[in-house]
Amino acid sequence: MRSDARRRPRIAVFKFASCDGCQLSLLDAEDQLLDLSGAFDIRYFPEASSRMLRGPYDIALVEGSITTHADADRIHKVRRLARTLIALGACATSGGIQSLRNWQDVGAMVRAVYPTPGYIATLATSTPISDHVPVDVELRGCPISKDLLLETLAALLAGRRPNLPAYSVCIECKRRGQVCLLVGADEPCLGPVTQAGCGAICPGFGRGCYGCFGPMESANVTALVAGLRERGLHGDVIVRLLRGFNAWSWPFRSGGDEAARAAAADEAAGDGPTGGGATAPAGGGAR
């Protein structure tokens, strides 16, 4: 960004299939918003402004996953317009909760929701931005951490790499001095395999981590699945735990599939029901 030292970086915000929450994080930075608008030239942010200026842009913030043919084309246009592309949140970095369709018959799902399915054009899968175009920075989370978004923008202004955590939620949980739910309360928790960034909020509320920041680098999901099974957790419960807001990202995806195979094998062996009656649901629960 050196050659543009005297020019404010031009920024644009684009939305694909998502809830709007990640781009709302920018507006939720109430204390920094006006400073941000001084430091950056916000040229395209439809949720906030009716001033929509054409690219190219220095930075594109992209929220949401790719679920339609039109969006699969549009993301290539966005990539061509932007020097740096930042994928925001679980939808953009993993396909989001809507990637649950990837295991199902989308036609049947559309018929379940819409009375005139013929009006709906959708892809069979929900996929992350990086499946379609190169992504420069990925911010995890459902939603992203506002602080990590501000850190990333500050880093881009300074021309340095953003300082993003690469360790697990367990580290944040320990820093907060919280008792381990998995060991101490037998509560299913994805903390050991989930990337930090949220501040270990859920364990702080006495519930297991549901993995909304997605898998950390080199997460050993296989070991966690084995450990949960040893604790007597039914395979179906483990499948649901892994098939959440980052269901489609490796190794949550492979771990969930593995657990599904194990659950099917248990069932074939006549081992118990598939429901949650005697076992805990994902996210800590009714036990």
């Binding site: 939305k15 299939a17 998502s18 809830c19 709007d20 929450g21 709302l24 994080s25 507006l27 939720d28 109430e30 204390d31 918003l33 006006l34 608008s37 439809p46 949720e47 906030a48 402004s49 009716s50 001033r51 929509m52 679920t67 969006d71 989001g96 909760i97 809507q98 369709r101 199902q104 989308v106 799902m109 559309v110 379940a112 929701v113 009375p115 009006y119 709906i120 959708t122 929900s126 459902c142 939603p143 949220c198 909020i201 859920c202 702080g204 509320f205 909304c212 419960v237 649901r240 959440g244 029901p273 598939t274 429901g275 949650g276 009656g277 649901p281 994902a282 996210g283 800590g284 009714a286």
Partner: protein, 432 residues
């Protein structure tokens, strides 16, 4: 001028999610007015099947980053109806407090950042801040107060993690809640200023005869429960909702359009709530309403900004009284014994009633789900308003016409992420 003209103004700005407006004019008449929703369908109702009931509030929160609490609340109440759960009054109070926090955050966002720029003719709140720094600073402080209260109760402002079927995973420290009262008192003062500021805005003369639908509670301004009532004498239990409201699927939309059976378009949201529950607002807010010249019936959708400001005052007051009377429940949540069945609930999201239906099997898993968000219920009324507003600007420059049409849609604070998703304004003009 004999050549037909088609003009496209891009994406509808300052709404949540992506959609468009298409208006075809023949001379001074509107031949067709459509709110197009091209936000991609995410199919929540389909993938909820087979999920455990405890997962539902966290999953449905992801329908909308602006009003996740509304989704959590409607789902929790519907599921508790199936499971036969009765919660402690402390849990009920904390749910109302969490909901007040979301109303404050969401209404402040709409009033100051999405809607005010329409009235003051700025592209956005940031540009507005150059000429009206005090106004924007107030709006941001109000919004931050709502968000910080959400964080205090729910761990974060977007997709909070504390609410669950049966109560809360954990309730906040009493001292922390009490300490927050000072922030709310400041927010309340800002909300009063907001109402007095909003009343002085210029409103087009645009009274509409929409049927208004809201919840009504025996003693409270509606939030978590009540009967579904309308300005045309509808008065039903939430369980009867599906007998009286129908959804239609239009070819131009990825959202379903709702209507009152055998009547048609209706309006939900602040205006409807206010008109149908003015007597529940309490004397102080009612006096302020009088001072703002905003006594019901208020039928001009452009005045929604005044009503949102009055609801901001109410939400701050309500939050303050909940905190003043706060006594933590003996247990944060009650455990739910499994029970198969079906249940419904309606709560007042910031944008209006949000209906949820679920069926559970005896393994505690969801077998069916149906969600009717407020924006889907308002779509037909938005289209009717477009039909009536566009002719007034038939001869105006096209950008003026498009701007007025956009504003008419923004009156409803549409949340397209909720209704499914992108708004493009297309104005097509043909000679009569």
């Amino acid at each position: 001028m004999t050549r037909p003209r088609t003009v496209t103004v891009d994406l509808l700005a300052r709404v949540e999610g992506e959609g468009g407006i298409h208006i075809r004019m023949e001379g001074r008449e509107v031949a067709e007015a459509r709110v197009r929703i091209f936000e991609p369908p995410r199919l929540f109702e389909a993938f909820l099947r087979g999920r455990h009931f405890m997962e539902v509030p966290d999953i449905v929160a992801r329908i909308c980053g602006i009003c996740p609490v509304a989704y959590q609340m409607s789902s929790i109440h519907a599921l508790e109806a199936i499971l036969g759960v009765t919660v402690h009054p402390g849990v009920r109070a904390l749910r109302r407090l969490l909901y007040c926090a979301e109303w404050i955050e969401s209404h402040a966002l709409h009033v100051y950042m999405l809607h005010a720029p329409d009235f003051l003719e700025y592209p956005d709140a940031i540009a507005m801040a150059r000429d009206h720094p005090g106004v924007v600073a107030q709006g941001l402080e109000l919004k931050k107060t709502g968000n910080d209260l959400m964080t205090l109760i729910g761990g974060r402002e977007i997709h909070p993690v504390s609410a669950c079927v049966g109560g809360f995973y954990k309730v906040p420290e009493t001292a922390a809640l009490r300490a927050f009262a000072a922030r709310l008192r400041r927010a309340r003062a800002i909300a009063v200023d907001t109402a007095l500021w909003a009343r002085a805005l210029q409103f087009p003369d645009f009274d509409q005869d929409h049927e208004m639908v809201a919840l009504r509670h025996p003693d409270e301004y509606p939030l978590n429960e009540g009967r579904v009532v309308s300005s045309r004498a509808l008065d039903i239990a939430v369980d009867e909702y599906e007998d009286h409201f129908v959804e239609r699927h239009a070819a131009w939309s990825n959202a379903l359009h709702s209507s009152v059976r055998s009547r048609g378009a209706y309006v939900v949201g602040p205006l409807a709530r206010y008109n149908l529950n003015f007597d529940r607002l309490g004397p102080v807010v009612r006096d302020l309403a009088r001072e703002c010249g905003a006594l019901p019936p208020l039928t001009n959708p452009f005045k929604g900004i005044v009503v949102r400001a009055l609801e901001l005052v109410w939400a701050c007051d309500e939050a303050l009284s909940i905190i003043a009377a706060w006594e933590p429940p003996p247990e944060p949540r009650v455990r739910c014994a499994p029970r198969a069945g079906a249940g419904r609930a309606c709560t007042e999201a910031p944008r209006g009633i949000l209906f949820h239906y679920y069926a559970l099997d005896d393994a505690e898993l969801v077998t069916a789900a149906r969600i009717v968000p407020p924006t889907a219920q308002n779509l037909r009324s938005m289209e009717e308003d477009l039909t009536r507003i566009a002719p007034r600007y038939a001869t105006a420059p096209l950008d003026e016409l498009a701007r007025r049409c956009e504003q008419a849609v923004r009156n409803y604070d549409p949340c397209i992420s909720c209704a499914t998703h992108a708004l493009t304004v297309t104005v097509e003009r043909r000679p009569a």
